[in-house]
Amino acid sequence: MHPALSVIFLTTLIGAGQGFFLALYTGQVYSLGNLLPAQSSLTFYAYGSLIALALLAGGLLASFFHLGHPERAWRAASQWRTSWLSREVIILPLFMGLVLVYGALHYFGLTRPVFRLGQAVVVDLSLLVGGLASAAAFLLYLSTAMIYASLRFLQEWYSPLTVANYTLLGLASGFTLAAAFCAWSGSELVLFYTSEALLLTLIAFLVRGLSLLRNRRIRHKSTLQTAIGVRHTRIEQKAQGAMGGSFNTREFFHGRSRAAMRTLKYLFLVLVFGLPLLLLGAGLAVDSLWLPAAAFLIQYAGLLLERFYFFADSRHPQNLYYQYIS
């Protein structure tokens, strides 16, 4: 497949946005049980929500560049019964709305308890809205990934690992950003988020590695024999019906060499997992403003490459019909 920049930015930006929001909400839930110290409503939750919103809005903006007719984008909400893309189109704005409300509740200090569960657990509005938003964040990971994982003949994507990867990579980058955010806003949760980010990055590495292994030994079901229905071991294309290329040659081929793809794979493995793990590990030992921030920036750059590789790595069966121009 030919990776589209718009989709690469969409999926990585909203993935990090969702992960960052989930990190904030994790902090709030943990502080309820007095596992973590409570944070300031304004500087932590309200500004944090703003950062999450900025990432999500950036992703949403990028997605419009993917459309031939962005002015008709509203129509995309209609087929949620059958289309994962439609579901994503509904959940993304819904999630953004919930994050906005969550941030606004904290900004305006509307955090008076609504009710109590037992003695210790004080439930306020932001906790309820945040819970809904968290559910939406996970649904969004699911629907973004299912857009790809539901296409059965794109065998590289047709796997639960796709969903796991989108979720874990989003969470890892979000928690790394949360560590950087805490470092810069002077919150004492730096160590908590750094260790969480370290753990998530490690799990994401294992799962992404698993999918790389799976895809390395994949056996494609479609062959030139089934594509044109001729039983012969030796079939060669001589003409594809157009000399100057077509939509089919532009949309479904990435045009990079095998060697370039291999380099890209090792590069993203180092940038998404290797370096951030080192920097986050160092961040646990040394108190630094720059370590978590550098970890996030490097990891995000790596995720752009990872997403490029994800798209380019899958081989569409239609390519069998477009092997030689003439």
Binding site: M1, H66, L67, G68, H69, P70, R72, A73, R75, A76, A77, S78, Q79, T82, S83, W84, L85, S86, V89, I147, S150, L151, R152, F153, L154, K221, S222, L224, T226, A227, I228, G229, V230, H232, R234, I235, E236, Q237, K238, A239, Q240, G241, A242, M243, G244, G245, S246, F247, N248, E251, F252, H316, P317, Q318, N319, Y321, Y322
Partner: protein, 241 residues
């Protein structure tokens, strides 16, 4: 239920591209807007087509065979491109099973083209919407055309009649009989898309001649030598007529 479809006879197709040009001519002139071309007379020309003829070489020299392979939307009975469309622009017509795109609803997200294993859909770079074969919906039911012309443009254009058009759900239609009797098959059956369009395979007519049939053992004029027969063996000459 009706399921209109094309049946393409690979045994007859000569790869002349008449179906391609005829399709382009009809469908670029219709009410649905042009099938845009980009830089048609320049370097790197490109354009939107509903139908393309590809050529494959089967076998190794000198035992090769050239297969011309016309490829267009197969109007699957279980089309994977339809449920993925987020706007409902992509749909399968109830009454005749034709898979269509509503160009006024399409947002050009290209997701349907990813969901088609055959590469049958092409994005029109100028109109920015997805396009595909319509089986000439604006011909096949057009009352102002004479009845014999109410068929897709490609079918009318084919000089060798390699393209048949009809309802594959009617067991007695020309297409159903052709599929049944001449080994019609579907492309990429492994994905369960159940394409409506079928292809008829290359067929060879061979006469099987045994050696004893070359020797005229029963020639009454005995101009050829009789084969040497073992003692007491029966030949056709011994049969009483």
């Amino acid at each position: 239920m009706t399921q209109l479809a094309l049946v393409i006879d690979l045994n007859v197709c000569v790869g002349c591209h008449a179906c391609v040009t005829s399709c382009k001519e009809w469908n670029t002139s219709g009410w649905a807007g042009p099938l845009s071309d980009l830089r048609p007379y320049d370097a790197d020309p490109s354009g939107t087509f509903f139908n393309r003829v590809q050529t494959f070489e089967v076998g190794e020299f000198p035992n090769t065979e050239t297969v011309h392979f016309p490829k267009s939307c197969l109007h699957c009975e279980d089309p994977p491109c339809v449920p993925v469309c987020p706007t409902g622009a992509s749909y399968k017509r109830e009454e005749d099973g034709i898979v269509l795109v509503d160009y006024d609803k399409c947002i050009g997200c290209k997701y349907c083209s990813w969901a088609c294993p055959y590469g049958a859909r092409e994005l029109d770079e100028r109109q920015r919407v997805m396009k595909k074969c319509t089986l000439c919906v604006d011909r096949i039911a057009e009352p102002t055309l004479p009845p014999e012309e109410r068929r897709p443009a490609c079918v009318l254009a084919c000089p060798t009649s390699a393209r048949l058009f009809g309802d594959i759900h009617d067991p007695n239609s020309e297409v159903s009989v052709a599929i049944r009797e001449q080994g019609g098959y579907q492309l990429m059956p492994e994905w369960g898309t159940n394409p409506a369009n079928h292809y008829l395979p290359r067929r060879k007519t061979r006469i099987r001649i045994h050696e004893d049939e070359l020797l005229r053992a029963d020639n009454p004029l005995h101009k050829e030598e009789l084969p040497e027969l073992p003692e007491g063996a029966e030949t056709l000459d011994d049969v009483a007529w």
